[in-house]
């Protein structure tokens, strides 16, 4: 039996310092069982680094012309790009490995699924430590946000951005618009600003066709860090995001229990 439809090429090419493409593909093979559920039915945007992280990179929103026929795609009008975009659907192992073979180190996904593209099923709270602050401040803000969300009766999930930031995700039923989720996050951001001015909450990512680094996506930095799903307890105890990387993540279990049970937002929001 054929294990994959993908023909791997240029395997010895160095994509991160000391890390070959073979290693990158091996990483995505190993994390696929954990990662694929978070890609399924979502539009995937590749961030390709054909010459490694030191070279030029480009985002590929459209399925390229050489896309094999077995890769699922769907067409949607993008208001942002003012044209139709032929999105790649992150649906299966072959698609993931095809992207990895194209040196798409980073794999980004939308916050909605293709069968109801205008309706988000994830609220993204993107915690971005700016102005000399770092992971420690981001962590403090994330824990603060989790407390507020708990008060509202909402389960939320946290992952490292892979850089210095953190992403907090709230899985929701597909009954709200992106305008609603944007407003929700903006409101949260106001709370946070009172606590720590230097940490920014980017709410604008909650929009049709916008993406975030997928859970378990590599990030284009030295050491190949991973945008890693965490248990809240892990974050409370403290950790170093650089240790969550291409070498350490394949062996970890997935801590995001219950992520696929969506929640209602409005009952609690503002209550």
């Amino acid at each position: 039996m054929e294990l994959t439809k993908v023909k791997f090429t240029n395997l010895s090419k160095e994509l991160f310092p000391g890390i070959t493409k073979a290693k990158v593909i091996e990483y995505y093979i190993k994390v696929a069982p954990k990662m694929l559920p978070y890609l399924r039915k979502r539009a995937v945007v590749m961030h390709r680094f054909p010459d490694g992280i030191a070279g030029k990179s480009f985002f590929e929103k459209d399925a390229p012309s050489h896309t094999p026929s077995w890769v699922k795609t769907f067409r949607r009008y993008s208001k942002h790009a003012k044209r139709y975009v032929n999105y790649i659907v992150g649906d299966d192992l072959d698609t993931l490995l095809w992207m990895a073979n194209l040196a798409s180190l980073e794999i980004n996904v939308t916050l909605s699924r293709m069968d109801d593209f205008e309706k988000p099923d994830i609220v993204l709270i993107d915690i971005d430590p700016a102005q000399g602050s770092g992971f420690a401040e981001a962590r403090e803000v994330a824990l603060f946000i989790n407390d507020r969300l708990r008060e509202l009766g909402l389960r939320s999930y946290v992952k490292t951005s892979g850089k210095r930031g953190l992403h907090v995700l709230i899985p929701i039923v597909r009954e709200y618009s992106f305008k609603d989720t944007r407003a929700f996050v903006r409101e949260l951001g106001r709370f946070v600003a009172k606590l720590r001015k230097e940490v920014k909450i980017d709410y604008a990512q909650n929009a049709v066709g916008k993406t975030m680094a997928a859970p378990y996506s590599l990030r284009p930095l030295e050491g190949a860090p991973v945008s890693t799903p965490l248990a809240w307890e892990e974050l409370e105890k403290g950790l170093s995001p650089a240790e969550l990387n291409i070498n350490t993540i394949p062996e970890r279990g997935d801590p995001w229990c219950g992520f696929f049970e969506p929640q209602r937002l409005e009952v609690r929001y503002g209550a």
């Binding site: 294990l3 994959t4 023909k7 791997f8 090429t9 240029n10 395997l11 010895s12 090419k13 070959t20 073979a22 593909i25 091996e26 093979i29 190993k30 696929a32 069982p33 694929l36 054909p50 192992l93």
Partner: protein, 265 residues
């Protein structure tokens, strides 16, 4: 003049020249070796060679060979379809014989018809070959016949040249355009006598031996130089996927595929 193209390694045809009841077994080698550089198309990103696929222009799908037939375009977009067997049936029988029907003066054949030349070498029997070669040399004649190469039949002249028998194929008259059919050449008049005389003195002054060696293919030379430079410096190496790496990937893949399957069940 020095002829210096590299001798070919392989004969492209073997058979015999028949003169009456005498057979001269020969092998046929290409004599004209045009210097061309061919480039392969590579993907800029990873230097892997570009492959072509046979794709249907209508449905966009790749078409396997067994689903391909030949069509002759009668009018734009209209084809008469042929099966391979139909075409095979009318091809000239690949004859293993060049029958020399007539002997002629080579100089009497208009060089415009010369297509290309092949070197004939003796195949086992040198005596028969030598007899034909020396006879043609002594009589100054060329034998005329037919040669079938790659399912096309050509008129051919067998003639001696620098101690060898050469087969020179010819174009058919219907393959050559008559200059008189060119409209621009209709009604060209003879210039006045005094102009002609003056021009002829200039030509006389510039007359000399034709020296082909003084002509060079400068593009090919520059290209060769460029290739040499690249070879000395950086060569573009096409990497084959290393077997070891692929093996370990397949091992990891097997585990993942099993795990995904188990999850589905």
């Amino acid at each position: 003049m020095e002829l210096s193209a590299k001798p070919p390694k392989r004969a492209i045809w073997s058979g015999s020249i028949a003169v009456g009841l005498v057979n001269v077994p020969v092998k046929l080698y290409p004599m004209i070796r045009e210097k061309v550089f061919s480039f392969r198309m590579l993907h800029r990103r990873d230097n892997a060679p570009i492959k072509f696929k046979r794709v249907c222009s209508k449905c966009g799908e790749e078409v396997p060979l067994e689903e391909i037939v030949k069509g002759y375009e009668v009018r734009k977009g209209e084809y008469v379809v042929f099966e391979e067997e139909e075409l095979e049936a009318i091809k000239p029988a690949s004859s293993k014989k060049i029958a020399l029907e007539k002997f002629v003066d080579l100089a009497s054949v208009d060089p415009i018809y010369f297509h290309t030349s092949y070197i004939l070498t003796p195949d086992k029997s040198e005596e028969a070959y030598a007899l034909l070669l020396y006879t043609l040399q002594r009589t100054g004649k060329a034998g005329a016949g037919r040669l079938t190469l790659r399912s096309k039949e050509y008129p051919v002249l067998v003639h001696p040249y620098r101690g060898a028998l050469i087969a020179t194929t010819l174009h058919y008259p219907h393959e050559v355009v008559s200059p008189q059919d060119m409209e621009e050449l209709q009604g060209i008049k003879e210039p006045p006598e005094e102009e002609l005389e003056l021009a002829a003195t200039i030509v006389d002054a510039l007359s000399g031996e034709f020296d082909l060696a003084s002509y060079r293919d400068t593009y090919v030379e520059r290209l060769q130089e460029l290739i040499n430079k690249k070879l000395a410096g950086e060569v573009v190496v096409v990497e084959e996927a290393e077997k070891e790496e692929v093996k370990s990937l397949m091992e990891a893949l097997r585990k993942t595929v099993e795990e995904l399957k188990a999850k589905q069940e």
